[in-house]
């Protein structure tokens, strides 16, 4: 029978089907971090359970970590306590732990792929919704709750009904200054934040085929923001080239054998989806959000739409605009910006820093801007230096910080103050997301760079 890529990976991981219930679903790789795992370990202990396959679980500290002075003890006692719990639990159960200061430390969804832990056809979970990132490799990857973290630790399985299938095709040539982030924000703006709820998405079409692995990760990362459980892209030569020779990738004959298998991981020509959508690359321009969910995005040259034109109800729309301090029909170009954040599991990869540097090169940071440039991992940090991007950034008046989730969810000290506006390359613009009372405009690294040098929302195409 014809199968989609999703079917092939899902069906090969079902240990048992429960009549009228969920599938018992086997997990190949499990990532844990300091925020959503401590209670899961407490649960294990209280039930007297062990970790079934510690070699399939990988721990990294990212959500709470400071982005300066990482060699010093973490000042916030609650954060320090969570980091210590992650380290202690990892040691107790024999789980690899890349804690603060470790050369492989960084954001879980950046370090996983970088080290070859992520691979095509894998099932991957983590107590973090942006686990969908790993779908870029043709894996089924999604976020889980803490009870499920406990399940995976103790049994390497979760109980999960199989989601419906959606294919999103984007074909054509992307315009100047249009990045993978814009493609994703555009799709979310068309579908709304609940448009893909209940579905697992496969991205197809030449826009994704021509995209780098970094770009594919950005797109799959944002699948959760349209409500999807995850997104995935069929593995191809781009995927294999990225993974080859990564520290934990297979080697030699085992690698060759795996690649042969991975080449079969694509949707059969006559397989069907529960829903299929197609968009034109030429309709997409650099995007920016104006509201308090990622679906409230528009082309940067457009004006804020009327309440009637937006899904979500007038009360919700008005609350959102009121929070942002905007009015309907306002232009986004020229809007005041106070902070710029480059980083997160969405846009904290080397390609994002290259994009940022391409705009700020030979220009100067605007005086009114506070910029937080936060690499996703030590490896990204090292590449920024090796490729000479650090010099460009420094000459323009910016400072590079140390790896971590940082202002994306503001669990560390990188908090945007109440009332201030941040152009952010992260994934969520919810009320208070980047600090209580903060206001977030989601955008690509190019839009962030344009704001960082002009001090206001600016179309990056004018600076390219």
């Amino acid at each position: 029978m014809s199968k989609t890529l999703f079917d092939k990976v899902w069906d090969s991981h079902v240990v048992r089907k429960i009549e009228g219930g969920p599938d018992v679903f086997f997990i190949d790789r499990h990532f844990i971090h300091e925020v959503t795992s401590p209670v899961a370990f407490l649960g294990l202990k209280s039930r007297g359970l062990s970790v079934l396959y510690p070699e399939r679980t990988f721990a990294t500290a990212d959500h709470n970590t400071p982005t300066i002075n990482q060699h010093l003890p973490v000042e916030d006692p609650l954060s320090a306590n969570q980091l210590k719990a992650l380290e202690d639990n990892s040691n107790e159960y024999g789980i690899s732990h890349w804690g603060l200061g470790h050369k492989k430390n960084g954001i879980v969804h950046v370090v996983g792929p970088e080290n070859g832990i992520t691979f095509p056809g894998a099932t991957i979970v983590c107590g973090d919704s942006h686990t969908s990132t790993h779908g870029a490799f043709g894996a089924i990857a999604f976020g889980i709750g803490t009870s499920e973290v406990e399940m995976v630790l103790s049994t390497q399985c979760i109980m999960q009904p199989k989601p419906k299938k959606m294919r999103i095709n984007v074909n054509g040539q992307l315009g100047k200054g249009v990045t993978p982030k814009d493609v994703a924000l555009y799709i979310i703006s068309q579908l709304s934040t609940s448009g893909a709820t209940g579905y697992f998405v496969e991205y197809a079409g030449d826009v994704f085929e021509n995209m780098t692995m970094e770009g594919r990760m950005t797109v799959c990362n944002l699948s959760i923001e349209m409500g999807a459980r995850g997104g995935m892209i069929a593995p191809d030569e781009t995927t294999f080239a990225y993974l080859k020779d990564k520290p934990l990738s297979l080697k030699g004959e085992a690698w060759d054998k795996a690649v042969e298998h991975w080449k079969t991981l694509k949707t059969d020509a006559d397989a069907t989806f529960d829903k299929e959508l197609t968009f034109n690359a030429s309709d997409i321009e650099p995007m920016i959000t104006y509201g308090t969910n990622p679906g409230m995005g528009i082309g940067i040259s457009k004006n804020i739409p009327n309440a009637e034109a937006v899904e979500g109800g007038v009360a919700t729309y008005n609350k959102s605009l009121n929070y942002m301090g905007y009015k309907e029909n306002d232009a986004m170009i020229g809007k005041k910006v106070d902070y710029v954040f480059l980083g997160s599991c969405t846009n904290g990869r080397i390609e994002d820093f290259r994009a940022f540097a391409s705009i700020v090169k030979g220009r100067k940071k605007a005086e009114n801007i506070t910029a937080w440039l936060v690499p996703g991992s030590h490896e990204v940090q090292d590449k920024i230096k090796e490729e000479g991007l650090l010099d460009i950034i420094n000459e323009a008046g910016f400072v590079l910080r140390q790896p971590g989730c940082s202002a994306c969810l503001a669990m560390n000290d990188d908090k945007v103050p109440a009332g201030k506006y941040a152009v952010s390359t992260s994934n969520r613009n919810f009320e208070g997301r980047q600090g209580p009372g903060s206001r977030t405009l989601l955008a690509s690294p190019l839009v962030a760079a344009a704001a960082a040098v002009t001090g206001v929302v600016t179309d990056p195409r004018e600076l390219i």
Binding site: V15, R16, G20, G21, P22, V24, F26, D28, V35, T36, P38, L42, G43, L49, L52, Y53, S79, Q82, F119, G127, D128, S129, G143, G145, T146, S147, E150, M151, S154, T155, Q156, C157, I158, M159, P161, P163, S194, T197, G198, G227, R229, L250, A258, N293, G295, G312, G313, A315, T316, K319, L409, A410, M411, A418, R428, F430, E431, G432, R433, P436
Partner: protein, 198 residues
Amino acid sequence: MAYDKFTTLTSTAVPLPLENVDTDQIIPARFLKATKREGFGDNLFRDWRYNNDDTPKESFVLNNPIYSGKILVGGKNFGSGSSREHAAWAVYDYGFRCVVSSFFADIFRNNCLNVGVLPVQVSPEFSEQIFEEIYKDPNTEIEVNLPKQTITIKSTGAQESFEINSYKKENMLNGFDDIDYLQNMKGEIESFANDLML
């Protein structure tokens, strides 16, 4: 972790008719630093519920004494955003046992089912009727019957059926969780794992 069994719940309800209520509002990230699963109810809807000086915001529904009960009625796409189970813990810890909405975000729905909060998805029309009746009379009682899978507005008798898969229903009725089930199939899991390539 074990939670109280859920059979039939009859209670007044708290209305929150906003759409896209995300988990960052249900429990803001800065309250996720605990290493134990206690006390999250105090910070449920923290930034909508309290001013910066920690005084309650009178305009927010949880601070309005005329509304109370074990049922929270939210707008469409309730619980979108982060996978943090802390959001479901906060809902439970505050005292809600059931959340009603015309549409739930996936992970939040899953997390609720895992911690003993029943997510009841109703039609947009029924959701409107509930809001209307509560606003007419805050003492309006709602009956949620899990065995029969029905939700009823007691004053008008209006009733709808809701979906829940039979496995999860059994779990909720008995206060079991998935780990109890999975522990009983360790051998099957191990033999499955042995056959995998990686």
